[in-house]
């Protein structure tokens, strides 16, 4: 059962899919192309929650205690898999095959991924699961960070392997979008109100370290997967390490539009153009 929950605030309405109680979820693995703002084409492989290719794997939101029946269909030509550390292990899935598993979900933030190889994860086979605490009505936003080196995507798609000592990405995306296109992603674009808390989950699915800087406000680290002793820190710049996440909370004290961007300022560029990478703004109403 899928429940569609609409949250309206400011002049903006967004719809996110919230799965609750007994849930059937079908994910299908497709290979396809990610189109960049400059019309560059990058080969990727992703999970899709529809019957068609999606340029990025979906963000999955559940509630604590939900019983999930997940079916993963592999429509690619190679073996893939699906795993969530400590929660779900479907194992490998042959090309054209599918596997179904039932699991009771526990509150937390998780990364789902293809355990068959780091190369498949680099190509796009990983995503974010948020199992919310029951009754948590705080507005959440979600950022999946990735870099893309087109030559490496092409090589890996042809069976090559990753040598990170040579890694030199050319594009930087949030939920598969970069620069101005991030504004059109309701799960990424932050809209908020003064004196009203919002939370942001930043998960790094790439190979690089990112250093996300916020204008306008300090944010509180509620949770992070890299070093639990950093929880409770009040900062304006947050390291997000490969494979890890930060859960941040902010309660804006003033209105305005403020940028958020990687302060490795090469990552705010893309394809040799400035302002086309990991950069967006948050819009806070009075």
């Amino acid at each position: 059962m899928i429940r569609s929950l609409s949250i309206s605030f400011l002049l903006f309405a967004l719809t996110i899919n919230v799965y609750s109680a007994n849930i059937d979820l079908r994910l299908e693995i497709f290979s396809g192309d990610l189109s960049m703002f400059d019309n560059s084409i990058i080969p990727v492989i992703t999970y899709s929650d529809s019957s068609a290719f999606s340029p990025s794997s979906p963000i999955l939101i559940f509630e604590d205690g939900d019983v999930l029946t997940i079916k993963v269909v592999n429509s690619d030509i190679n073996v893939h898999g699906f795993k969530v550390d400590g929660l779900i292990d479907i194992g490998s899935i042959a090309a054209g095959d599918s596997v179904t598993q039932v699991i009771t979900l526990i509150a937390g933030i998780y990364k789902y991924y293809d355990p068959t190889s780091i190369e498949n994860q680099y190509l796009g086979l990983s995503g974010l699961i948020h199992v919310k605490e029951s009754g948590d009505l705080t507005p959440y936003f979600y950022w999946n960070l990735r870099e893309h080196e087109p030559e490496l995507n092409n090589a890996v798609s042809s069976g090559g392997s990753i040598d990170q000592t040579l890694y030199s990405p050319k594009y930087y995306t949030i939920n598969g979008n970069s620069g101005d296109a991030i504004d059109n992603d309701a799960q990424a674009k932050i809209f908020g109100n003064v004196n009203s808390e919002f939370r942001l989950v930043i998960m790094n699915h790439g190979l690089s370290i990112h250093s996300m800087h916020f204008h306008g406000y300090h944010l509180l680290i509620l949770d992070n997967s890299k070093n639990s002793s950093h929880n409770g820190r009040d900062k304006d710049t947050f390291p997000v390490y490969p494979g890890h996440y930060q859960l941040l909370s902010a309660t804006p004290d003033k209105p305005g539009e403020y940028p958020i961007h990687d302060h490795n300022l090469i990552a705010v560029t893309g394809g040799g153009q400035y302002h086309t990478g990991m950069i967006t703004t948050m819009l806070i109403a009075p």
Binding site: S211, R233, P239, D262, L265
Partner: protein, 381 residues
């Protein structure tokens, strides 16, 4: 001619600071090469250096930054990094204002929690920050006390501020620096950034451990380090374990729990504040690593030196001690004398009675030669 941009009324201004934007400076590296830089200065007569001048204000001050852009070409701004100013004073083009050639722009803010902050230009920021338009901003306690980290905080005897970055000279080519500025058109930049120079406070290589740039301390002092990074690499500041490094703040806020450890990793845009406790050592080495955020490999490992003011260093006469630097033999007397050679931490390496010594078995680095009650700095290539 000037324009007043400030819109925010803070009532009485406690402190006004003039910052001048420049785009015709020359930065000299340790190897003799140089490159064109942009930068900030406090006067028209001073040379443009990186980083720019450190701005110091007191907690609670109403501050006015008078930014005068004397440079030609693209406009500039001042972004007050970490100060959580309102949108109008945030220094981001399109969302506030840009300052064109020979105009003044005014930024107003109320100094937030005492701590370490940054400022930099946010026009074509990847280009203008790399070009050199950045500096530190320190908020002192409300009474302006210099040896206290914040109101009712912890006192110390001495502080040092280290701001790391890098330079890729490709990004300093005139064709990049003198870019067209049309907010409606994309700004073209190099696709990659591969630094040749890794700098701390604008210093690189042998400049970092030159006695002129030593961080001098007195025995048993408690030292406060402000550690920042505004480059495009990660930086690790690695202190000797004897100093018992204790990090107490980051990004201008106290940490809820002190972080104990000799290595402080500072990513682009971050700041950390760390206590060190010195004893009776004559010196201590700070290793600064820059690491590539994509390959995760260390790109440069360089050393800075804490030096006790109680230990003197005598000037070397190139006639009496030569060659220096040396690959092997170093001559220091016309007749045999007692001598000893230690590393920079004082650890004995070679001792003898001779007119010369062979350094062939020593790793490259800086050493101290003591003869006839005097200490000399020598370098093994």
């Amino acid at each position: 001619m000037s324009l007043l941009f400030g819109q925010i009324a803070f009532g009485q201004i406690d402190y006004t600071k003039l910052i001048i934007g420049r785009n015709q400076g020359t930065h000299y590296f340790h190897d003799g090469d140089s490159t064109r830089v942009f930068g900030f200065t406090e006067t028209l007569s001073e040379e443009t250096k990186i980083p720019g001048p450190t701005i110091e204000v007191n907690y609670g001050d109403s501050v006015k930054i008078d930014f005068w852009n004397v440079s030609q070409g693209a406009p500039h701004t001042i972004h007050l990094h970490g100060l959580d100013v309102d949108q109008q004073n945030d220094g981001v083009p399109m969302l506030s204002f840009e300052v064109e050639h020979m105009l003044h722009g005014y930024y107003y803010f109320k100094a937030p929690h005492p701590g370490t902050y940054l400022y930099h230009c946010h026009v074509g920021s990847t280009v203008h920050l790399q070009a050199g338009m950045y500096g530190l901003l320190i908020v002192r306690p409300s009474n302006g006390e210099m040896n206290l980290n914040w109101d009712n905080g912890e006192s110390y005897d001495r502080e040092f501020s280290l701001l790391a970055s890098e330079i890729d000279t490709v990004w300093h080519n005139d064709t990049i620096l003198d870019h067209e500025h049309d907010p409606m058109m994309p700004l073209m930049v190099p696709e990659t950034f591969n630094a040749q120079y890794f700098v701390v406070n604008g210093l690189s290589g042998s400049q970092l451990n030159d006695p002129a740039n030593y961080m001098y301390f007195q025995p048993n002092e408690k030292v406060y380090m402000r550690l920042a990074n505004l480059g495009y690499y990660g930086v690790r500041y690695i202190f000797e374990s004897a100093l018992n490094a204790r990090t107490v703040a980051s990004d201008g806020r106290p940490l809820p729990n002190e972080q104990l450890g000799d290595t402080i990793e500072v990513l682009p845009g971050e700041r950390y504040e760390t206590f060190l406790q010195f004893g009776n050592q004559s010196s201590s080495i700070l290793t600064v690593e820059h690491f590539n955020l994509n390959t995760l490999e260390v790109s440069a490992s360089q050393e800075m030196v804490f030096w006790s003011s109680s230990v003197g260093i005598d000037e070397i006469s190139s006639v009496s001690i030569y060659p220096n630097p040396t690959d092997d033999l170093i001559y220091f007397s016309d007749s045999p004398v007692d001598y000893d050679i230690t590393d920079i931490t004082g650890k004995a390496q070679i001792k003898g009675f001779s007119k010369s010594s062979s350094l062939s078995r020593l790793p490259s680095g800086i050493y101290l030669l003591r003869i006839e009650g005097r200490t000399y700095r020598i370098i093994k290539n």
